[in-house]
């Protein structure tokens, strides 16, 4: 089988690389992407710290994958939709959703803390690959409604093994749906390495099998991602149908804070990928162009710090959600059974309030 030539516009040291297929994005776009990377990295660190402090139940970090995260949001126009997973907090935030609202899920306050329709961001999916079919449906809806909306759906390398992934690709291709699939191949599904998911020459090949372009891109190269995803979105918007993009990247942190990655990978492997940090690369390139100076960088860092501080403050207030919320939204129309169950919980809580703690 023929190998796909990976799209790369910046090497690991930030040097520009020629690629006859994709032009280098303009500097101002990449400076803004750098701002987003700084913010995304800080958010990953802050959220991980909040787990250690007991403010968040869990955090699946996208450390090392920030280029994929911020670009997935940046290439979308206001009317487009994003279909993210549990790992895509940074992408959702970059799309414009308040981090406090995004982290509602991982804080255990509610299953989705933002308004999907307002932000055009679907709830973060935990059951793997399920969101990809929804993305295809949403994209086909745009076709039926005569809108030029594009849908970008995210998933991991492991999720490409689920049946839903394959059904989504096939439906998208048959419907010529305006959808872009971005697979963040971070090399692991918890402990299971890529070799156990697929022996295809690349995951991008799977798109080709379903009759759509499959593009393999350096997932730590923000410039290449911007070019590749930008082109895919433009093509989808123009009626050109779906694209599968595989981003070659790496999950620097453990799967979540609950995972012990030392059981299945070496520090050397992690260190080698850490040297390919997307921030280092883009910064070197922009510094070389003299479009990023100390002042701009300080500005980005300060903004990221301010975000982090706001997040800390918001999560320090840990009032529990209202017990009545348990029953409020099960169905569009409340049922008598649930009203009775809600009443029984209210009575129970009222009785507890009447009884001092030690008597219980």
């Amino acid at each position: 089988m023929e190998e796909l030539r990976m799209v790369r516009l910046l090497d690991a040291d930030g040097g520009a690389v020629e690629d006859d297929r994709y032009p280098m994005p303009p500097p101002e776009v990449l400076v803004d992407a750098y701002r987003a990377l700084v913010r995304g990295k800080r958010l990953n660190e802050q959220a991980s710290a909040l787990v250690r402090q007991g403010r968040l139940a869990v955090y699946p970090s996208s450390r090392g994958q920030e280029a994929c995260q911020v670009t997935a949001a940046a290439v979308l126009r206001p009317g487009d939709w994003l279909f993210p997973t549990y790992r895509d907090t940074v992408a959702v935030v970059e799309r414009g959703v308040d981090p406090v609202e995004v982290l509602t899920l991982l804080r255990g306050d509610w299953h989705c803390g933002y308004d999907p329709s307002r932000h055009r961001v679907a709830p973060q999916a935990t059951p793997l690959a399920t969101q990809l079919l929804h993305a295809v449906g949403a994209a086909h809806a745009a076709t039926l409604r005569g809108e030029d909306t594009v849908v970008l759906a995210l998933c991991g390398d492991g999720a490409t093994s689920e049946g839903d992934f394959h059904e989504a690709l096939n439906f998208a291709a048959v419907f010529a749906a305006p959808v872009v699939f971005l697979v963040q191949n971070n090399k692991y599904a918890i402990s299971v390495p890529l070799a156990r998911q697929s022996v295809a020459p690349s995951l991008a090949h799977k798109g080709i099998g379903y009759g759509m372009p499959g593009v393999l891109v350096d997932g730590n190269d923000t410039a290449a991602l911007t070019a590749v995803l930008g082109e895919a979105v433009t093509r989808a918007a123009g009626g050109g149908g779906p694209t599968l993009v595989e981003a070659d990247t790496y999950r620097i942190d453990a799967h979540t804070n609950a995972d012990d990655a030392s059981r299945y990978r070496t520090d050397d492997e992690v260190a080698a990928w850490a040297r390919r940090d997307p921030l280092v690369r883009l910064r070197a390139y922009l510094r070389g162009l003299a479009v990023l100076d100390d002042e701009r960088e300080a500005e980005f860092t300060a903004a990221a710090e301010a975000d982090a501080a706001r997040l800390r403050a918001a999560l320090a207030d840990d009032r529990p959600p209202e017990p009545a919320e348990l029953f409020a939204h099960v169905r569009a129309t409340p049922t008598p059974q649930l009203a009775a169950q809600a009443a029984s919980l209210r009575a129970e809580l009222a009785a507890e309030r009447r009884q001092p703690e030690e008597e219980r």
Binding site: T126, G158, E325, F327, Q337, L345
Partner: protein
Amino acid sequence: MAAPVRSTADQPTSSVQNLTIGKALNLGLRAAMEADDKVLVLGEDVGKLGGVFRITDGLQKDFGEQRVLDTPLAESGIIGTAVGLAVRGFRPVCEIQFEGFIFPGFDQISSQLAKLHYRTQGGIKVPVVIRVPYGGGIGAVEHHSESPESLFAHIAGLKVVSCANPVDAYWMIQQAIRCDDPVLFFEPKRLYHSGALKAPVDTAAEPDPLFASRTVRQGSTATLVAYGPSVKVCLDAATAAAEDDLSLEVIDLRTLSPLDLEPVFESVRRTGRLITVSEAPSESSITSEIAARVQQECFYSLESPVLRVTGFDTPYPPSKLEEHYLPDLDRVLHAVDRALAW
């Protein structure tokens, strides 16, 4: 297939070990693999990692990658290939990572695994075990805390069991693997590593039969019936009630399909009152089935209606609300009070 590798790890000098449920399951799996080289373990992260709960810890190291397979990430794939392996003489033990992720495999379970024996008039046996960590109270995000066992108990052709203590964990998993029918094996995940539940497990003992319920505490005032994680809740409630001179009988169902309700009928005929306890929503559930059968068999013995203490008929809530959702000791005792005040 490669010759089975005998484990040399942890050879105890006595046959009695003090184990958690998690460790008992691990040793039970190990014993089953040693006894029969056709036993395979497959699932997500079951190899090097030993599963996210470490239930298969060390098995790949000791039995090799042929017998402990990290599969591609696909539940339908895991269960469907297990069916094929079973058809050709293997005894696959599938691990589903969390109960909320069994559903991509639901079609394979309900339309294939459950029906193959029937369709072939007994010509094909499918001795597949599907291990499912289930239940709440672990502070997790959605899809990690549910109790879907009733869905499977509703499917003819499957057997469904749940263990509630280390001794049963050790023996029931081995018995399930030896069973010629497909078995859904529900494991109370929040109790996996509970030190409080640690118990001496005699690996040389004669185990109770798999498809039998068991009275785990005798009493005369009312009967509590539970399974899996709710057994502990009921035992704690019975202990608390004893201080008020209430004598509660507790029955651990152990088998959810087929149900073994004779011990329940016998108990209810003595106590006249029954409370069933489960974390699952109550509508159309195992607890409903018990209520229906008990009123049929014990109608003239009942002194109050059968009461159910269960999760609400809502999706499993976010973790900060789960304490309100899960049946606890107070709710069980409140139900006992209601039954007694009838």
